[in-house]
Homo-oligomer: 326 residues x 2
């Protein structure tokens, strides 16, 4: 058990909301196709001028506002994005700059694709617990619209841009991380990928514009995740010393409607015990899970004292889970 106090949460989305009806027209589909196919009623899509870090800073500022804190009250900024704003420097640097934290406040990135927030939450809790830092701003922001392959019928419909942030302090009471587990199966490394952006495919080696687009083999992800999820979950709950009956609310990565429905059935829990913001936001990549957490806390479905299960899959292919008491 790593004590941890979540002081506040915040989210931000771009101004531009695109309904699935509008997407039907834009992509020349029959009316109703995009929502039926994806389960997404609307998603937010940034215009080309919006900086990822600006949206991240908005979420962090919203979390600061809700905590009644100034940006100068943070002594570390962590960004957990699946894709950065630039190859260098870290996205956290740009977020720190636009949030207005004090000069000298450390800023670095943690990248575990769609589950970066969960991994970073675990690491942040440790840094608070051993008193390296006293108040951390953790931000996840992704703009998947910048990498959508509009010719890919599946992946193009499910994503939405967004940001979410939490303000974290060292826990003193019973709140904290009761269990954390992360597992990577590199046999699935190519199931979700963006080939460009790094040293492998760039103008110095060999690259085409499509290398900067997100590629997904949804069925492959589903197959591999299903193969490992049962044992993974059993081990996670066992290590935390709890059963599913002890979990008040499941906060899943909002990967896809089919994936979440499968997860819900696997867990054998009713819809009211699982947070689902997918239809209104789509899959916001690394911002997805903390956005769902924000909505759960904001709507008082996750009050102080409640025990949450954060769970999901990430490019890798990785499985991640956390038992978190608020």
């Amino acid at each position: 058990m790593i004590p941890l106090r979540i002081l506040s949460t915040g989210v931000a989305v771009p101004d531009n909301c695109v309904t699935s009806s509008e997407l039907d027209k834009m992509q020349r589909h029959a009316h109703g196709y995009c929502e039926h196919r994806s389960g997404v009623a609307q998603r937010y899509i940034a215009d080309a001028s919006l900086r990822q870090s600006k949206l991240g800073a908005q979420a962090l500022q919203e979390a600061l506002r809700r905590a009644g804190l100034a940006a100068a009250g943070l002594d570390l900024v962590i960004a957990a994005c699946a894709v950065p704003e630039q190859a260098m420097p870290a996205t956290a640097v740009f977020i720190a700059q636009q949030t207005g934290v004090s000069a000298g406040t450390p800023a670095f990135d943690i990248n575990a694709s769609c589950l970066g927030f969960m991994v970073a939450l675990r690491l942040a809790a440790g840094l608070l617990h051993d008193r390296q830092y006293s108040r951390i701003g953790l931000v996840a922001v992704d703009l998947p619209s910048r990498g959508i392959d509009w010719d890919a019928p599946e992946a193009s419909l499910i994503f939405g841009d967004g940001a979410a942030a939490v303000i974290l302090e060292r826990g003193a009471g019973p709140a904290g991380i009761e269990g954390f587990r992360y597992a990577t199966y590199p046999e699935g490394a190519r199931l979700c990928q963006i080939r460009g952006g790094g040293t492998a495919h760039n103008p110095r080696t060999a690259v085409q514009a499509s290398d900067y687009l997100f590629q997904m083999d949804g069925k492959g992800v589903f197959r591999l995740a299903s193969q490992y999820m049962d044992a993974f979950l059993k081990n996670l709950l066992g290590e935390a010393g709890v059963t599913l009956a002890d979990i008040d609310l499941v906060v899943p990565h909002q990967a896809s409607h089919l994936g979440m429905e499968h997860m819900r059935r696997q867990l054998r829990i009713p819809p009211e015990r699982m947070v689902d913001i997918y239809a209104r936001h789509g899959n916001q990549v690394a911002a997805s899970l903390p956005s769902a957490l924000h909505h759960a806390i904001d709507s008082q479905r996750a009050p102080p004292g409640s025990r949450l299960l954060l769970i999901g899959t990430a490019a890798g292919l990785s499985l991640g889970g956390m038992v978190l008491s608020l």
Copy 2:
């Protein structure tokens, strides 16, 4: 004090070694120009087919060999690269795959540009200390040659490709991290950057081939780092409860010969108390500091019981320092 045991270290470089004399010819400079200008006698440059993760896996395998361990003995792989192999998934996934770790071993990235290794070392020590993991493979690998702007007289001459890895376990004795400090000054965010590779500059927004090249304002970095380094170092040593006289060996990020010489004078220490592999490797970005650490340990300049100061600057602009007892 976070106890930490470094079981072993390992390094890897590409096959292709380019001397500064060869570079003089390639870049049509007078004989001696490149070495005089950069302080680098030779650097390793990967051919276009070498994968960053393959070089990282070689370093990790070398560290495993030196520890007498199989890859299955790791329960976490962290990659700390300034630039990833691909935008997605994390570079650690590809390194884990090519190292042959057991399926399910978690793998994620930490990015603090040139100082990613130092930040990741601190985070890994915490994860071992609170018993989340028992043996971590931490790898830093960068291929700066993929982003060298050969028209930039300064930045093109100083970089070299490379990888370094450490195997870490929970400390039991007096070895560990006595102090760690990291400070980011986003006013210097544009002093070292690669604008492409993420959501800001790509085919969906607006990008040119030069956006994938590394840009550096060396004088600006030097000015900003000099402004903050004195107080930074004083605070770091103060928090660790040591003075410079208690430091057996300084292991700096091998940024540039002028930067390191300035650091040495600032610290008022003789050359034999500072590790310098720069002339034979150049600046290996995130792999630079752990490569220097490897050489210090391998050459028995940093025996068990010695106290090291790891120190350097990173794109951000960030300053990082650690007091580490072996």
